[in-house]
Amino acid sequence: MAASAAAKAAEQPELRRAVTPWGSFSWGYSDVGADIFVGLGLVLGAAAGASNIAFLFAGLVYVCIGLAYTELAAAYPVAGGGQYFVFRGLGDIFGFIAGWAVLLDFTIDIVLFAWSCIDYLSKLLPFLSFTAHPWTHFIIVFAVIAGLALLNIVGVRESSAFNELVSGLDIVSETFILFFGFLFAFEPQLLVHTMQMSWPTPFNLMNGVSLAIISFVGLESISQAAQETQRPASVIPRTSISLILTILIFALAYSNLALGMHAWHPIPLDAHGHAQPLWHYLGNEDNNGAAVAVLAANVPYFGALAALYVPVLGAILLLISSNSGVFGSSRIAYAMSGTQLLPSIFQKVHPKYRTPAVSISVFCGVAIVELIFAALPSLSPPVREIYTRLFRGEDGITFLGDLYAFGAAASYSFVFIALIFLRFNDSQSPRRFKMPFNIPMTYKGNRVEFPVVAVVGFFGIASILVFTMITHEIGRVAGPSWIILGIIGYLFYRKRKRLPVFRSQPHDWRKAQINILQSAGELEMMDEYIVNVRKMDEQRAIHGDVMR
């Protein structure tokens, strides 16, 4: 029996470790880097003159999240990301809830980025504009999602080299936009003036903060790719820190530039025929889906060129991000199914293409339902009236942003708690990177370090979760409903399978950790782990003898 299990394990195909440091960075960048293309316009529309403050608050929380992910992904270099960390740290049911929240995020990711991709293209092809031609926009977004689902079932995925090329081009392009913008059109006095004159109400500021967090979602990708990264324990901290700082710089730079920049071209009058500042123009319903392209077009000198290619580059980056939602949701569902958190049907692979076709179809189906819900008010005037009455008339992209923020804040909150638990209960696992500011203490006879930044991060992300619930009428209902429906399904499934419902199944984490480190090629860490475990066992034995 044991021999056959060993043979089966040996036969199981492993992911090839081919992701280099730059590959790991660009993998993360193609996911997180696309977020600012969506987030900028939404935050400007909500937080007005305090948009940079909203980005600052969300950005500082994101730094804490990034540090937590870096520590955990380097210590547990296995595919699964946040869901795996929570599963390991807090047990089965919380692992399920975190995974389910990540699944919500991935399905929203599919729609939101496909939607924004078409918004960016509409800057070159006006017939794709959502406000002018909602049906065309809806049908094209629908076709993009269906196409991505089909491509993923057939097994075609964008290559790592393509990701690297697009990420490289985007970094260069964004740097140029910011450079020309700050050099020729930015005025600090205008920034302060805008902040003074257009400071939002506390409600709108909270709304802005909750939307700003969507500009920082996607670090998950680096953890997801950990199982395919060469020497993950040393590479992941390097690439993660660079990515965290790069994204923070771009988000803060864009928001400050938008508030303090003189537009190079005359800005069209607003709907009431009044002159409007650039940030207002970027945040209105026509432009909030493609704010970076509009901003780039208004940059002196470089804007003429940027107006031509930024919509295309943005659309490609957003399409990659949308695809990573299709890929990520199916793989997380596949992994959760393997640990009996979801029914085994999600592990079913297509007989010909060997891809998790059921997972792909189900979660793309969920994405299409979300798309219909987001687009419906613009497609049908009676529905718009209902939305206005019930949900303050939130537009489609804001609805998607709400849910994206909810899913991210919920799963990140669990990751912080899992990190604290793992510091206490798995202090033997070597950590090549640790979050800064730790308080050393003794727990059950072991020396452990209490992570202060994780607590700060937890309160930060929890406050964003509260802001999302307070300010978003739809997010307040749809987000918790998704979680509650998932928990009901989970309880039903576990009971039917005669598995522990609220408790966890027994897991041999020591063996699992040795296998993880061995397959990662981190043999030094593996030896260190074995020595640490032995030491702890000896200490416990001595302690037990003394007690007796």
Binding site: W22, N52, L56, A161, P188, V192, M195, S242, L252, N256
Partner: protein
């Protein structure tokens, strides 16, 4: 691409960019203070400048660590 990112030329280019980040970060902070004065409203600009300096410093550290390994 893969060969380029593993070359010494790429490492040096990153070093030049790191220097630029540090300079730009410092300029951002100094220009903000000189233009408007010390006010909390410029907090995002200060953090932006600090993040640029941190990214530059991180790349320097990365470069010297890689050189020490070689």
């Amino acid at each position: 691409m893969k060969r380029f990112v593993q070359s010494e030329g790429y490492a040096r280019t990153r070093l030049v960019l790191a220097t630029l980040f540090i300079v730009l970060g410092s300029v951002t902070i100094v220009r903000a203070v000189m233009g408007v004065g010390l006010t909390w409203k410029l907090l995002p600009a200060f953090v932006l400048g600090a993040a640029m300096i941190a990214l530059g410093a991180f790349r320097y550290r990365d470069y010297f660590a890689a050189r020490a390994r070689r």
